[in-house]
Amino acid sequence: MTVTDRPLERYADYLRLLTRLQVSGPVRAKLDASDVVQTALLQAHAHRDQFRGRSEGEWLAWLRTILANALNAELRKFAAEARDVRREQSIEAALDQSSARLEGMLAAGESSPSERAMRGEELLTLAWAMAQLRPDEQLAVELHHLKGLPVGDVAEALGKTKPAVAGLLFRGLKRLRELMTGEKEKSLDRITG
């Protein structure tokens, strides 16, 4: 079985996580990550015969390219809709930045093949596990660990105190690790069917 034969749903969590990481601020509130991911997965499915690689890493990179296109299209739609000048600037800034970030993500696949494969596997698992968390825990972990925000900024973004964020991180990380270790095989089996 080649990588392209795997069910695309397996990658949904991962792509959703990536999407959430790319957009923020005013855009984040309006954009439904699931929609974008759905679009990307549909496109991937439609064009899977154009995929020239073999490894999982290459497959992930390919998916990311498609996601980047889908996301950029979606973001442009927003920018076009929001012709209101006050907003335009911030959305365009976010767009520039998002595209820069996404393109960086694409470059991420350029390490050694084994490394790539491992990272791909781990990222998929992490993304899946993240999706299982309670929403506030998920957001805290995402902002702090994936976006690298300091605790103080996470607290501000969530409208909570710093100790409360610490509590979310504590419980979120605990749950993540349980999911990623103990239930990893089971869960992957479940996803891959």
């Binding site: 930045q97 393109e103 960086g104 992490l126 973004a157 105190t161 100790p163």
Partner: protein, 764 residues
């Protein structure tokens, strides 16, 4: 402070470097920090379904994470040890955190790198620029060698990180500065060609300098530093340009003989690079542009060895965004930041910050070591703010002393102590290169003492300072004397080297003594420290006597020394007169008049005298305002002498004697430090030492100035009333007794004779 957009904020600090020597001290500091970080009880309530134990756990986690964000997280084990009751939970937290971070960190880094530059086409086009190759990368962005397509010229294209450039106001400032920098025309400033934005990417195009940065020079020389004689580093081949001297790059070693050590050549080469960079900076400063980020990496050498100052106008970006301040790149920049920059005193940052940073750069070029090597931001900040750099010659004896002096002046903590301009810096380097005397001089003992005094304004312990200065002088003199003795004993074995060494030590000792004199005159010249001044001068005088004895074979030197000795003796004589004046001022006090049993006629005469020569009160009298300390002293001394003559005429010899006794008594312990009293009592050095200790102890206890001269307003010629009067009543008898206990029985008897029966003046 602007509110950061979450998306812009990429914090790379979650994996702080933990210094291996993380000490217990830091841990306790960290524990204290927990208290500081969470001062509000309100913060502890919020956690959902929190028990008290949860609340404490959350507080500890917050403190740990914030410490980590600040770059100095303690090792996990130490946290566990510090909180035994939360050990299990914390251990679990660290374990979980590690396993998630292992995956998340690379992802985060990728996102960060992407934020610096879109790497879509590995090396594509950016507007008018075709990127050719990446030549450097860091927190400040990526530098590419590129071709400006429309003009077909090679440029260095610096692409700025998004995070730093995102704030519109900030970006505007960057542009303004970059435009200004683009107008700088100087042979040693890298020309800026363009500043612009393309697809949200901010870039800065400048002339491409084909060569290397001084950071690379340091690295290669450090790598090649097999020995001090090895100066054939790869860059020197370029830099020396032995065949074709370039008119724009004057050959540094004009006085070179070719037989010099390569190390010497290198030092001169560094001085010349520094000189050219300083001139370039001066040019920018004249245009009102401060570089703010001078460091080895920003000084480039082209293939002809000519230095270029790069990155003008970019410092705005590097220091602006808090999200970037913790990257290694910024730490690297911080290394060369002046104290006023490091302490973020924006109002104080001027062109002298550049002087400092260039000095720090030269320091590193010369010693091949970082001036401050702190590995964490905090440690580095502390070093920049507080530590004096290790003198260069302690790291490498082959560095010329003049060059050391120049560099150390440039990196003085206080901007006012540095070269006032980059041009002055360049000039002094030129003087060094021309083998002319440089203008910079090392801080003297006196200057160090003055600075110390300024840093401790509330300190009244001038006496302690006197001890320190005296100890310095004494130590040097002792070494000097034993050295001279050795010289005469085995003169045959002494080479020129040793003679020079002795000469240097002699100069050092003499400078120390001169410093003491200057300190006494300039810092203690007026005010209440006259006793301290007098003792300082007496100490210096004693050294001068020794110097004169040592130099008696050299008439010229002896004459110069004698002139100083005479001058100091004169000052001391005046001081003695001023101190003696106290005695006569006492005469105005009714209780003293009673004690002396003055007749009514005598009292009338005293009153008349007081009216005629009024005492100074609350500072110099109007006519004295424009006088220097010296003039003022002379005037006072003249008045006191006149006064004294009249008093002597009024009183009978017995009354005069009793007045002297009362004055001695009222002066309290300090009377025992007068040279006359010391001579009369034949105090030993050990006894004087004991008294100094008692004095230092006394200063520590009492908030006011020492008693002689009646406090700040007394000015040596104060009236007899109020707080300006003799304050010795402040000394209790027990304290005086301590001093008297130092004396032998015989000395006590002499003291008794000098002071007479106890005087019980009216308490006021």
């Amino acid at each position: 402070m602007k509110k950061r957009m979450i998306s812009d904020f990429c914090n790379p600090s979650l994996h702080p470097v933990i210094p291996s020597n993380f000490s217990l001290f830091s841990v306790s500091l960290w524990l204290v920090l927990i208290e500081i970080l969470n001062p509000t009880p309100g913060g502890r309530i919020m956690a959902d379904r929190s028990s008290p134990a949860d609340a404490k756990l959350n507080d500890v986690i917050v403190a740990y994470l914030e410490a980590a964000e600040a770059g100095w997280a303690p090792p996990a084990e130490q946290v566990l040890t510090a909180y035994p009751d939360l050990r299990a939970e914390l251990a679990e937290f660290f374990r979980n955190r590690d396993s998630v971070e292992r995956i998340a960190a690379p992802l985060r880094d990728v996102a960060r790198a992407a934020a610096e530059f879109p790497a879509d086409e590995p090396l594509g086009r950016l507007g008018d620029f075709q990127l050719l190759r990446e030549v450097g990368r860091g927190g400040m962005g990526v530098v590419y060698e590129a071709e400006q397509i429309s003009l077909r010229r090679r440029v260095a294209l610096k692409v700025l990180p998004f995070a730093a450039a995102i704030d519109a106001r900030h970006l505007q400032r960057f542009r303004t500065e970059a435009m200004a920098a683009a107008n700088l025309q100087h042979e040693n400033i890298v020309p800026v060609y363009a500043v612009g934005t393309e697809r949200g990417v901010h870039y800065y195009a400048m002339r491409f300098i084909d060569g290397q940065s001084l950071a690379e020079v340091v690295a290669s020389r450090r790598g090649a530093a097999a020995g001090p004689d090895d100066a054939t580093g790869p860059y020197l081949a370029n830099a020396e340009v032995p065949t074709v001297p370039d008119a724009t790059a004057p050959a540094p070693a004009s006085g070179s003989t070719g037989r010099e050590l390569p190390a010497r050549k290198y030092h001169r080469w560094v001085a010349d690079i520094g000189r050219q960079a300083a001139l370039a900076l001066e040019h920018a400063h004249q245009s009102g542009i401060v570089h703010r980020d001078i460091k080895p990496a920003n000084l480039l050498l082209d293939s002809a060895g000519k230095p270029w100052v790069a990155d003008f106008g970019l410092a705005q970006v590097s220091t602006a965004d808090a999200g970037l301040t913790l990257t290694g790149e910024i730490l690297g920049t911080l290394r060369y930041a002046s104290p006023e920059q490091a302490l973020a005193k924006p109002g104080l940052i001027d062109h002298r910050s550049d002087v400092y940073s260039l000095g720090a750069t030269l320091y590193e070029l010369l010693t091949l070591q970082l001036m401050f090597a702190g590995v964490t931001r905090l440690a580095l900040l502390r070093q920049i703010a507080e530590s004096e750099p290790i003198p260069l010659r302690q790291l490498d004896r082959s560095i010329p002393a003049e060059l050391e002096t120049i560099v150390l002046k440039a990196v003085a903590k206080e901007p006012a102590d540095r070269y006032p301009t980059a041009a002055a810096f360049a000039d002094d380097l030129q003087r060094f290169l021309d083998d002319r005397p440089i203008l910079a001089r090392r801080p003297t003992v006196r200057e160090k003492a003055v600075k110390w005094l300024r840093r401790h304004p509330t300190y009244t312990a001038v006496g302690v300072l006197v001890l320190v200065l005296a100890a310095v002088g004494f130590g040097i003199a002792t070494a000097l004397i034993s050295r001279e003795k050795n010289r005469t004993e085995s003169a045959m074995l002494r080479e020129k080297e040793r003679a020079n060494e002795a000469e240097r030590r002699f100069d050092l000792a003499r400078n120390a003594a001169d410093d003491m004199i200057r300190f006494a005159d300039e810092e203690l010249g007026s005010g209440w420290q006259q006793g301290a001044r007098r003792r300082l001068l007496e100490t210096a005088l004693a050294y001068y006597q020794q110097f004169i004895d040592l130099r008696k074979d050299d008439p010229n030197a002896a004459a110069a020394l004698e002139a100083t000795r005479v001058r100091v003796s004169g000052v001391l004589a005046d001081l003695a007169v001023m101190q003696g004046a106290n005695r006569h001022l006492l005469l105005r006090r009714p209780d003293v008049q009673d004690e002396l049993r003055l007749t009514d006629a005598q009292r009338e005469q005293v009153r008349e005298l007081s009216d005629r020569i009024p005492g100074t009160r609350g500072g110099p009298r109007p006519g004295f305002v424009r006088m220097t300390g010296d003039q003022w002293s002379r005037k006072i001394v003249a008045e006191i002498r006149a006064h004294e003559a009249e008093v002597t005429a009024i009183l009978s010899p017995d009354q005069l004697k009793r007045l002297g006794q009362v004055a001695l008594q009222l002066r309290g312990p300090t009377a025992l430090q007068d040279s006359e009293v010391i001579a009369a009592l034949k105090l030993t050095a050990a006894q004087r030492e004991q008294m100094r200790a008692l004095e230092a102890e006394g200063f520590g206890r009492r908030p006011g100035p020492p008693p002689e001269f009646g406090g700040p307003s007394g000015r040596g010629f104060g009236g007899g009333k109020g707080k300006g009067g003799p304050p010795f009543e402040g000394f209790n008898s027990g304290q005086m007794q301590k001093w008297l206990d130092v004396l032998t029985a015989e000395q006590k008897a002499t003291w008794q004779a000098m002071t007479g029966p106890p005087f019980h003046g009216k308490k006021r």
